[in-house]
């Protein structure tokens, strides 16, 4: 599905990602954890070209991500931001139908809005269709953002700390949506600080340290039997 080969990213000479290689298979769920500033967001943002890699290659469904029409490919790569980033000037319904209406020339407005309402209902947001983003709670905003990404029928979903900006009592409603999505077979990569969630959700957990993949393993091995010292240290800090 997605294949990353020796991806390097520098900002003004600082190496933030250092020859990262990664394979994501169809249907796989990957959790990425690591200390603040270790390069997790940068890695995720490279996967849909929000950041342009300094060197290395990313292949999405066999095609180099940097070549051809990136906008077409991005439609198939759902991205969910930590800070939601709902379009502030339009209603929830407009937020989630904007891209499909502009991109799917053959789909009618009725069809697209019908699909949007179905998805909103599924995530308990139907009564918010005509609300403006700033009248929603954080949890509702993030669920709308997830629906927005799903409207394009993506083949993979990327989440960058989707619950980090939420009040504690709102975290669960968003994680539940993500778990629900996972059980539908969606391919997913999620950067998270929720260790318990990572353990339950992921097929594979990746630890990023100073721009490198320092360790990757099944959740059980990863959390119960960490190998590298940096990971042991990190886990002992976050689990206590």
């Amino acid at each position: 599905m997605l294949s990353v080969n020796k991806l390097t990213k520098t900002f003004h000479g600082d190496v933030v990602l250092d020859e990262v290689s990664l394979e994501v298979k169809k249907g796989e769920k990957i959790a990425i954890i690591g200390a603040s500033g270790s390069g997790k967001s940068t890695l995720l943002r490279c996967l849909n070209m929000l950041e342009t890699p300094t060197s290395g290659h990313i292949y999405f469904q066999g095609e180099a991500l940097g070549e051809g029409n990136i906008n077409k490919k991005r439609q198939k790569i759902g991205f969910v931001f930590q800070s939601f980033n709902l379009f502030a000037n339009m209603t929830v319904l407009k937020n989630i139908t904007l891209a499909p209406l502009l991109q799917q020339k053959d789909a009618s407005k009725m069809e697209v809005e019908g699909k949007a309402m179905k998805l909103l209902s599924k995530f308990g947001l139907a009564d918010k269709a005509d609300a403006m983003p700033n009248s929603l709670s954080g949890g509702q905003k993030q669920r709308v953002a997830i629906v927005r990404a799903l409207m394009n029928d993506p083949d993979i979903m990327l989440f960058d700390e989707p619950t980090s900006a939420l009040d504690p009592e709102l975290v669960k409603e968003v994680l539940d949506v993500i778990l629900d999505l996972a059980s539908s077979g969606m391919t997913m990569v999620i950067v998270t600080h929720e260790m318990k969630f990572a353990k339950n959700f992921a097929d594979r957990v990746i630890f990023i340290d100073k721009g490198k993949i320092a360790e990757e393993n099944t959740p059980k091995e990863f959390f119960e039997n960490p190998k590298c010292d940096r990971l042991k240290e990190f886990l002992s800090k976050v689990l206590n």
């Binding site: 931001f81 980033n85 019908g114 139907a126 005509d130 927005r148």
Partner: protein
């Protein structure tokens, strides 16, 4: 006193209506073109593309803004009237049109800066969300960034409209019969310096107050529907059919 004012208004009705028309035409059309031109300039100057052509365009526009803002509006207008059209371009152009062009160009430099600032103050997550959804830079600008930027810029754009309207009082320099120039002519023929100038001052005040009022209304309308979602429940019943 009111007798005298009434007398002047009555005697010079026709010229004064024409003068008002010229003042408003130059101000509004000048502002409209300045707004369009300013928006286009701002779009280029905020474009993230590193394409060589784009970089050159940006430099040129940066120079344009610097040049225009460095020259008094009156001087620009004189240059258009006496040099650019008759000498450089060798084109005959009515003075009113030249005034309009001068104010469009002058205003575009300021408005482009206003809009550029408004665009840059929009959270960059908005653009990223658009791009992540597969929209182009242009589509995201058009549907997401500019509507928010325009909305935030309304107060400042309103100021610019008002200052441009008042600024048109110099067009008499190039023989355009606006309110100010016409009043000067009336003064020089009637030898009455008091009443014509009172009429002139009050006319500008009324125009500016009306504009201020209209801008307030626009501001209110736009901020209500967009920022607080007052429209939220209006279409509620229509959507119900989907569930």
């Amino acid at each position: 006193m009111f007798q005298n004012i009434w007398q002047i208004l009555n005697d010079h009705q026709e010229r004064l209506w024409t003068a008002l028309g010229n003042t408003l035409r130059i101000a509004f059309l000048g502002f409209a073109f300045a707004f369009i031109l300013g928006t286009l300039i701002a779009l280029v100057r905020t474009n993230p593309s590193r394409h060589p052509l784009m970089l050159v365009a940006k430099k040129i526009l940066e120079g344009y803004v610097l040049l225009i803002r460095g020259l008094p509006t009156t001087v620009q207008m004189l240059l258009w009237f006496f040099l650019i059209f008759p000498v450089a371009l060798q084109v005959r152009m009515p003075a009113v049109v030249i005034a309009m062009i001068a104010f469009s160009v002058d205003g575009s430099a300021y408005i482009s800066e206003t809009i550029r600032g408004a665009v840059q103050s929009i959270d960059k997550g908005q653009m990223e969300a658009g791009r992540a959804a597969g929209l182009t830079n242009f589509q995201t600008m058009q549907k997401v960034i500019l509507p928010q930027a325009f909305r935030n810029a309304i107060p400042q754009l309103g100021n610019e409209l008002i200052s441009m309207t008042k600024g048109t009082s110099v067009v008499g320099w190039i023989t355009v019969m606006d309110l100010t120039f016409t009043t000067n002519l009336i003064v020089s023929t009637t030898f009455d310096v008091v009443h014509p100038y009172i009429i002139l001052a009050v006319s500008y005040l009324i125009i500016v107050y009306i504009l201020t009022f209209l801008i307030k209304i626009l501001e209110k309308a736009v901020f209500k529907t967009n920022a607080f979602g007052k429209q939220a429940n209006k279409n509620f019943s229509r959507r119900r059919s989907f569930r």
